[in-house]
């Protein structure tokens, strides 16, 4: 039985990772077609580095991801502290709305945001993309920060207040430092989320502002190009670093 368990776990991990590993191997393979291994090369990465359109899309992606992650952390952290600390009318509604936003399918969000931007006459491009990405990152940040705050001794902040701290000082000097790892992790996850989004971006960006996942989408639709392997490998590496980092931060709990 124990052996069966291990075998099954290994099998599912294999299913999850084998395609990515193969893709990464391909990206170092100079042979253009087929799977024959023709030695190690960085040709496809070099091609990527000389593609001006691709570099622009990558920079756009990084810009939107970092801004959206920061904005989501700002609004989300402050909101999570508010939700954690205060009781107010409509609190359950707000909590429920966050859950719905978290769960709502990309497609529904994409459609509704597109309708909003058209109705408000906001030009599809950088701003619409930034606002949309911030929106789908928000519930992840609040959930991460809230669950961190829930794990802490609630008397810490009361102690601070007994010692004469005003509300703002107690939050800034006690709660915020406690929440910091979760905020940082939330930022990294939001960054990864923004970098990885295809569906929402496809709907809410215009032709003037291209981002990396959409670039990959159009490359894939044109047919298989080995450069896509290299690009996909790079994006995968970015996810590993961001998510691994966020996990590491969250798992280090102060004793």
């Amino acid at each position: 039985m124990a052996r069966l368990k291990t075998a099954y776990l290994a099998l599912v991990f294999g299913f999850l990772y084998l395609p990515m590993v193969v893709l990464i191997l391909y990206s170092f393979n100079p042979s253009k077609y087929g799977i024959r291994w023709a030695g190690f090369s960085l040709d496809w990465y070099r091609n990527l580095a000389t593609d001006a359109g691709l570099i622009e899309a990558a920079l756009n992606s990084l810009l939107v991801a970092s801004l959206a992650a920061s904005l989501a952390c700002l609004v989300g952290t402050v909101g999570a502290i508010g939700l954690h600390r205060y009781r107010f009318r409509g609190r359950h509604w707000l909590q429920g709305l966050l859950l719905v936003t978290l769960m709502s399918p990309d497609m529904v969000m994409a459609v509704s945001l597109l309708v909003l931007f058209i109705a408000l006459h906001i030009k599809l491009g950088f701003w619409s993309l930034l606002l949309s990405h911030t929106t789908f990152c928000l519930p992840f940040v609040t959930a991460t920060v809230q669950s961190r705050l829930q794990g802490f001794d609630r008397y810490l902040i009361e102690a601070a207040q007994d010692l004469g701290a005003c509300e703002w000082q107690a939050i800034r000097q006690v709660m915020l430092p406690l929440a910091m790892p979760a905020i940082l992790a939330g930022w990294m996850l939001s960054f990864a989320l923004s970098l990885d989004d295809v569906v929402v971006s496809f709907f809410v960006t215009g032709p003037a502002f291209d981002v990396l996942p959409l670039k990959i989408y159009s490359m894939v639709r044109m047919g298989v190009k080995p450069e896509v392997n290299a690009l996909a490998a790079l994006l995968f590496a970015a996810s590993v670093v961001l998510v691994g980092g966020a996990q590491w931060i969250l798992q280090r709990r102060p004793q």
């Binding site: 707000l94 709305l97 309708v115 911030t134 509300e167 996850l189 569906v199 639709r221």
Partner: protein, 306 residues
């Protein structure tokens, strides 16, 4: 306690908990803390969806937007057999993907949660990474595996199971494999989370009372992990309806999914009211799922009034 980033996210939101100090002095900071979040969600979640709801009752206008006259025609048109076939096809595929994911993920999540090993945090991270990896990249990765000259065919050829490469890409099976591959982590994490929280003593009590392994599973473990099953199913089923790029990469465009349909209506055909009606149908499904989820939390969570 181990804290998985994504697993945290799927912690059941506590609807009923209300700490003793329910009211605190309201202050400037309270408004300052809540207003931005509430305002953001109002402007970018509630209002947009209200707009879509409104659009679904309007008529299409010549310029490709909406005309201000009420109609139920869009919903009636959804019942046209041509479109019903698309929806049915998409629903069947999404159901199949959900069931496959559940069957694959449950034992995996169970054994992973029960694993007594220092490796567990690392293994959990290995599940979380694909959860956050670009789904397009992952679909593309599996394409390379399924291609005519890809690894799968070569392996089968070498093993002598087939004589010539079989066609795997551009079949409905490829779309299904792609969906399961992309969405499996979304099933594993909520399941893992609810199984990890499962109180072992309840299972042991059932054993002491003479329940065999099968009965223990059906009557104790399964109901107690139902919130995880439902939220996992939701996280697989809903995206499975919408992954429009999966047919572009793995299955050509002949197999229409609801996602392809919405994309066509909004971006190509520009029939917004009709697309909005379809989108509302999708939201209705989401609502049903969420209601079931909230119900199962109330009914089966240890603190609930079961």
């Amino acid at each position: 306690m181990l804290s998985a980033t994504a697993a945290n996210v799927f912690m059941p939101i506590q609807f009923n908990r209300r700490p003793r100090d329910a009211m605190r002095p309201a202050g400037f900071f309270k408004t300052f803390a809540i207003a931005p979040l509430a305002g953001w969600l109002l402007l970018f979640v509630l209002i947009p969806n209200a707009l879509v709801l409104a659009a679904s009752f309007l008529r299409r206008d010549e310029s490709g937007f909406v005309e201000l006259s009420l109609t139920l025609g869009n919903y009636r048109r959804l019942l046209d057999p041509v479109y019903l076939r698309v929806f049915a096809h998409s629903l069947v595929l999404a159901c199949a993907a959900t069931v496959l994911c559940l069957v694959l993920a449950y034992p995996f999540a169970y054994w992973l949660a029960r694993l007594r090993s220092g490796l567990r945090p690392l293994l959990l991270t290995l599940v979380v990474v694909p959860f956050w990896t670009n789904s397009l990249v992952r679909v593309y990765a599996i394409r390379a595996l399924l291609a005519a000259k890809g690894l799968m065919n070569n392996t089968l050829l070498v093993l002598g199971l087939i004589d010539e490469p079989i066609r795997l890409l551009y079949t409905p099976a490829a779309v299904l494999i792609g969906m399961v591959y992309v969405l499996l982590p979304f099933m594993i994490l909520p399941l893992y989370n609810s199984i990890e929280k499962l109180d072992r003593r309840l299972v042991e009590a059932a054993a002491d009372l003479g329940a065999g392994p099968w009965r223990r599973f059906i009557e104790v473990i399964l109901p107690l992990t139902l919130p995880g099953i439902i939220s996992g199913s939701l996280l697989v089923f809903m995206p499975a309806l919408g992954l429009f790029f999966i047919t572009d990469v793995l299955g050509g465009s002949r197999d229409l999914l609801l996602g392809n349909f919405l994309k066509d209506q909004f971006l190509d055909a520009r029939d917004w009211p009709f697309g909005a009606a379809a989108s509302m149908a999708l939201i209705g499904l989401l609502g049903l799922f969420l209601a079931a989820y909230a119900f199962s939390l109330k009914r089966f969570s240890p603190g609930g009034e079961a």
